[in-house]
Symmetry: C2
Subunit: 281 residues, 2 copies
């Protein structure tokens, strides 16, 4: 497995792979790889000849008071795991390589970014869209793989690819969970034992909502109130948002009649976690 | 020569051309082709196997009170001229094809867009950058050709291509002028005979500045005042801006020590014209 650190070398590698007619898959990550990422890589191996994993903690998607500096970084461990998953290349640029002095171009997606994480993290999706567009131009993947855990990110990137006519197919992979239900996340590493236990409230509240829907409760406000009540009963949890929107348009709804996204962001101690489920009316 | 109207068909054509190893050149235009555009096409023929000319009056780069509706359109005349210049394909989408319902993605370039035409036409460069990025993704050119007449546009697009790591080379072609010095522009068609004559004040004032520099005047304020005075003496002319900035960074300067851009926008009657020259200190 190769580790490539410059855009120039990455483009050169891709140019050679394309000349050989190889199909390129990209798994964009911020590193600190876990089973969720590895699932994306294995999925990529199925349909692509060359799988590139980018490992880049992207400064432009973090707000000034967020966890950019302390976000977990472990290139050695990541390389070992990616290698075992059959990845051909890790693209691991420095921030200065991606955003040199004078850098001044950003991609703004309107509409669906004005809610959920877009409200609590202003500028987040601008940073995500921009870095993903850059990665798409550098690596020119036939397919790129993203996890459904970042449900809104997936919709934002789908919007970007469609609107800007990008030549890449997005494949969205279901959320990977620990055996007790906790959604895999690099930020889980921040949790103390006590917090790790409290964090189960996210997936449990989603499961509760799913059961309520299965039993005929389609009223959005009532569902939200039940989810909120369950989370509030956990004393280490502090709700950032609990929302239900139509899916995939993320429009306001009062009753679930077809697909709806129940998405939540909750702080457990100092760690902000997100999770979601698609409910069907 | 083919005229292609949908993104799907255009991508299909490009895919086939790429499979044959052909080198693709793009000349993005808003149509109403003149000798300036034809020069770009002839330049493109020199280094590319297939030349695509896009003809699209891009609504997102016009402000609400600008001349989008009345911008000259002449596909029949344009096709004849492009055919004679050896162009293989005209890409001529409708606005709805490029910006379907729900469209919500834009590229914002900061810094150099906050002056000159970026001040008098808010949102203009956002629309330009966005449509050009779309055209680059649709047509995937090896090279794209732009005229130096739109000096700031050229710098904005250069910034975008570099920042977003786009896989295209920009070739910038010098301003093409009428024999009396008027810079070629589709908007010249709006001018009455009297206005056409008055419009010569743009290129004449640039020539005056060039002469002053040649004779040792490097003071930016003095040069600007002389240019302004000459234009103000023309009673049909109304200055939008006359500015001198360092080139290519467009930074404020007091004295010309190396390359500098003298750029101006002037209304002649209801028609806003631009012109520019690179001065060397």
């Amino acid at each position: 497995m190769k580790i490539i650190e410059t855009i120039h070398d990455m483009k050169l590698f891709i140019e050679q792979a394309k000349r050989q007619g190889l199909r390129i898959g990209l798994v964009p990550t911020m590193g600190s790889l876990h089973e969720g990422h590895l699932t994306l890589m294995r999925q990529a191996k199925k349909s692509c000849d060359v799988v590139v994993v980018s490992i880049f903690v992207n400064p432009t998607q973090f707000g000034p008071n967020e966890d950019y500096a302390k976000y977990p970084r472990d290139l050695t461990g990541d390389s070992a795991q990616a290698g075992k998953a059959g990845v051909e290349v890790i693209f691991h640029p420095q921030a200065q390589e991606m955003y040199p002095n004078g850098y001044n171009s950003f991609i703004e997606i309107g509409g669906i970014t004005q809610k959920l994480c877009g409200l609590s993290r202003p500028g987040h999706f601008r940073g995500v869209a921009t870095v993903v567009a850059k990665l798409f131009n550098i690596i020119q993947p036939d397919k790129a793989f993203f996890g459904q855990k970042d449900a809104q990110q997936v919709l934002v990137l789908g919007r970007m690819v469609a609107d800007l006519n990008m030549n890449v197919e997005l494949e969205i992979v279901p959320i990977v969970r620990e055996s007790d239900g906790l959604a895999m996340s690099s930020r889980n590493a921040f949790l103390s034992v006590e917090e790790r236990n409290a964090a189960l409230i996210l997936s449990r509240s989603l499961q509760l909502a799913q059961q309520l829907v299965t039993h005929g409760e389609f009223n959005v406000e009532k569902l939200k109130q039940q989810v909120i009540a369950v989370i509030q009963a956990e004393k280490l949890a502090k709700i950032d948002y609990v929302e239900i929107y139509s899916y995939p348009l993320l429009e306001n709804i009062e009753v679930i009649t077809s697909k709806a996204l129940l998405a939540l962001a909750v702080r457990i101690g100092n760690t902000r976690l997100i999770d979601n489920i698609i409910l069907e009316g």
